[in-house]
Amino acid sequence: MNTINFVLSGLGGQGILFLTRVLAQCALDKGIPVLGAETHGMAQRGGSVVSHLRTGDVESSLVREGTAHFLLALEENEAYRNLAVLAEKGTLCVNASGNPFPKNSVRPYLEKMKIQSRALPVGKIALQLNAPLAANSGLLGVFAALENAPFAKADIRATIARLSPKRFQALNLKVFDTCLEKASAV
């Protein structure tokens, strides 16, 4: 079984753990074993938070440098900070703040490594939809829109619906749908 390595990054409080849960569940629903690593404790108090997820037959939970197939970042700087994990031909999905992404100084590296990046201001979109905490669902929309996404759009959506707390379910789905549509249009 081929291993797929994900790294998810952001700041404490942005909902990285939910993002991780959704992707893991998508794999588990296809009968693929999953091993992941989470950040708990002091680092959760506003620090950089990274979560690793590996699907397939693996023994260890951390993704090595240059071996991540997907990097999903809920914040631009956290995307840059974790750039080294991305494999050649890897894919980067990022919540862009409005600055051009990637920065000019980073662009040649991404091109050389044939890394494709998809940036969408999912945080702003979530805020406009009155769901400031749903940026994570928005980023999943960007991920679902990828032609090389390992899970079907409908499956990701159904998993978000299943794992969302009831009071956030409708908003999470709305943000997911909006971002999926915008990312597909790009």
Binding site: A24, L35, H40, R64, L83
Partner: protein
């Protein structure tokens, strides 16, 4: 069959319960905190009778579990690695006395460290106490080892340590299990003072008995399939072999599988103590050199006594600090392979990216107190009234008060008080009246504050102690405290008010205040300062009581006060330095500080702090 995507700590909980654990005690501490809540969850979902408790500290947890283990029951206590220091007194003695049932001590290590004071290696504590230790490499194995630890303990009547690293505790993996029940023995305590209350003469005999047990277990560890094993091919000599245990084992295994390296054998030591001498000897004989990969100290490496053959930390090949991340292990391995003239592995990754990222000068994200955190208000008031004090503090979220200049020391659990009395005496000896303000959280105070406070009162120390009472053990994930009176399983216990405990320690000055009201807090701190200085004064205790904003969102901020920053703000930086709320940010576009609405908690406390009066209700 049931299925779940469990945290490693959940897998440990599952393994303990499947192993028939009847009693589980714990004091929270990253990375161990989720084990007991996961036990509680399984006890409810599987309809079990296992007794659970949040104990007031790790020693209390171990003693309580130990009593069950000498009543013929199966018991476990869970803690972080530095918690085992607190419980060390019990552990050393329990090893001699042994058990009649089973006792498993789960002590979780934190290589990195990510959320601890030290990177100490629990396996060395096991060696010091002379008890067996198991070192799982991932959650799946942690579940199996939890069961194995209980069985070993019962069979050899000895406490057994399970030592998962943080990458086991906080890894997640998919699990399935069949319905099970916990059917253990009823409590029977057979009196035997020569064992359970042994005097030194009998301790000598117990020590001998312990050594005999270890010799037997060492032999068992020589042939513990799946836990201690190697993949040597018969009659083959190897230029290099790897000896690894715990998380580094799983990393090496994945690395070799990925790069299809079958030329380097691995000796896995998931049960490194008592050391499986025969198995190790066999492996060493077949290899010209061996590289030891273990976290975080040198345990296996010490036991492999051939210094010429063994590479590791002592030979300078493996870093002596920090986590053995997969990238570190890949680098170490390739370095050794090249040294020995063996083909290195193809390691992916592009070296130039590190430099590229470094040059981006990304903002350093240090952890901060949450927006709306009541501790922030407390530290602000403390700094205002006692700017020249030595600020002794302690372990918890409030250690982050150092960002506001309100924390000068953080030694260990309880030292907020004991270092305050120590500083007082050190300066008083020279005739210097050094102001000292100690801060400590409610849970930490129950954990190890009282002995220090009794000592300080008894010996005439003088300082202000601010107990930061937020009704929870916040940093480790909101476990209840004795003051809350809610027990581990959610049932109601007897609540013990902090002020009664403080009064019981002999303190005469006790005031309770809501720190959100900075004015009153400031007035009380001035009163406390006067009490400390007055001839018949002494220690002054202020209980700053306000619920944690994360644990009790609605109760913590009953009235939302949205704020805004007016043009009166001249960007003096005072609020950033002294208040350090992440929701107050300098905005270059408008030329002064502004409010980040998406993270502001609307607590309104900041309207009380700006010297220009520029932060106002919107």
């Amino acid at each position: 069959m049931k299925e779940a995507f469990l945290l490693g700590n959940g897998a440990i909980a599952l393994g303990l319960l499947e192993g028939g654990c009847q009693v589980v005690t714990s004091y929270p501490g990253t990375p161990s905190s989720e084990i007991l809540p996961e036990i509680v969850r399984f006890v409810k979902s599987e309809n079990l009778k296992t007794y659970t408790e949040w104990s007031t500290n790790e020693k209390v947890a171990l003693d309580n579990a130990y009593a069950a283990a000498v009543s013929g029951k199966r018991a476990a206590c869970c803690m972080k690695q530095v918690g085992l220091n607190v419980a060390a007194d019990s552990l050393m003695s329990a090893a001699y006395m042994g058990t009649t049932g089973a006792l498993v001590i789960v002590s979780c290590d934190d290589p990195g460290p990510h959320s601890s004071q030290t990177e100490q290696d629990t396996r060395l504590m096991a060696r010091l106490a002379k008890v067996p230790v198991l070192d799982p490499s991932n959650p799946r194995e942690a579940r199996e080892m939890a069961r194995l630890a209980l069985d070993l303990s019962q069979k050899f009547k000895i406490p057994v340590i399970l030592r998962p690293g943080i990458r086991v505790c906080h890894a997640r993996q998919n699990f399935s299990w069949n319905a099970f029940s916990v059917r253990g023995k009823s409590a029977v305590f057979e009196k035997n003072p020569a064992r359970w209350a042994a005097t030194p003469r009998f301790r000598f005999l117990l020590h001998r008995e312990l050594n005999e047990k270890l010799a037997q277990i060492s032999k068992k560890f020589d042939r513990l399939k799946g836990v201690n094993e190697h993949n040597l091919t018969k009659n083959t000599k190897y230029p290099l072999g790897i000896v690894a245990g715990g998380v580094p084992y799983s990393v090496v295994k994945d690395l070799f599988a990925e790069s299809r390296r079958e030329d380097i054998p691995i000796l896995k030591l998931g049960a490194p103590y008592p050391f499986p001498e025969r198995l190790a000897k066999q492996f060493l004989r077949a290899c010209k050199k061996v590289l030891v990969l273990e976290e975080t100290d040198t345990v296996i490496e010490y036991f492999l006594r051939d210094r010429k053959k063994v590479l590791g930390r002592l030979s300078g090949h493996v870093p002596s600090e920090g986590e053995l991340l997969p990238d570190v292990i890949a680098r170490v391995l390739n370095h050794v392979l090249e040294d020995l003239g063996i083909a290195p592995m193809t390691v992916s990754g592009n070296p130039e990216v590190q430099e590229l990222v470094k040059n981006l000068n990304l903002p350093v994200r240090k952890p901060t107190l949450c927006p709306g955190c009541p501790h922030r208000a407390s530290f602000f008031a403390i700094r205002k009234v006692q700017p020249k004090a030595i600020f002794t503090s302690d372990i918890g979220c409030y250690t982050l008060g150092l960002n506001l200049g309100g924390v000068d020391t953080c030694l260990d659990m309880g030292a907020g008080i004991t270092m305050a009395s120590g500083f007082y005496q050190a300066f008083a000896q020279d005739g210097v009246e050094q102001p000292i303000v100690a801060t400590m959280g409610d849970s930490t105070f129950f954990h190890s504050g009282t002995a220090g406070l009794l000592n300080a009162v008894y010996n005439g120390a003088r300082f202000i102690l601010v107990l930061l009472d937020n009704d929870t053990t916040a940093m480790t994930g909101m476990q209840p405290t004795p003051a809350l009176g809610i027990r581990a399983d959610g049932s109601t216990g007897k609540a013990i008010p902090l002020e009664r405990v403080v009064a019981g320690c002999g303190v005469d000055f006790i005031e309770v205040v809501d720190p959100y009201d900075i004015k009153t807090m400031t007035t009380l701190l001035k009163k406390a300062k006067a009490h400390v200085a007055s001839p018949d004064g002494g220690i002054a205790v202020i209980i700053a009581r306000h619920p944690c904003v994360i644990a009790y969102r609605d109760r913590a901020i009953p009235e939302k006060i949205p704020v805004t920053v007016t043009d009166e703000c001249d960007e003096c930086g005072f609020c950033h330095q002294r208040f350090e709320c992440p929701a107050l940010v300098p905005d270059a576009e408008i030329g002064h500080t502004t409010v980040n609405k998406s993270i502001c908690a609307d607590c309104g406390v900041c309207t009380q702090i700006c010297p220009k009066g520029a932060i106002v209700g919107a």
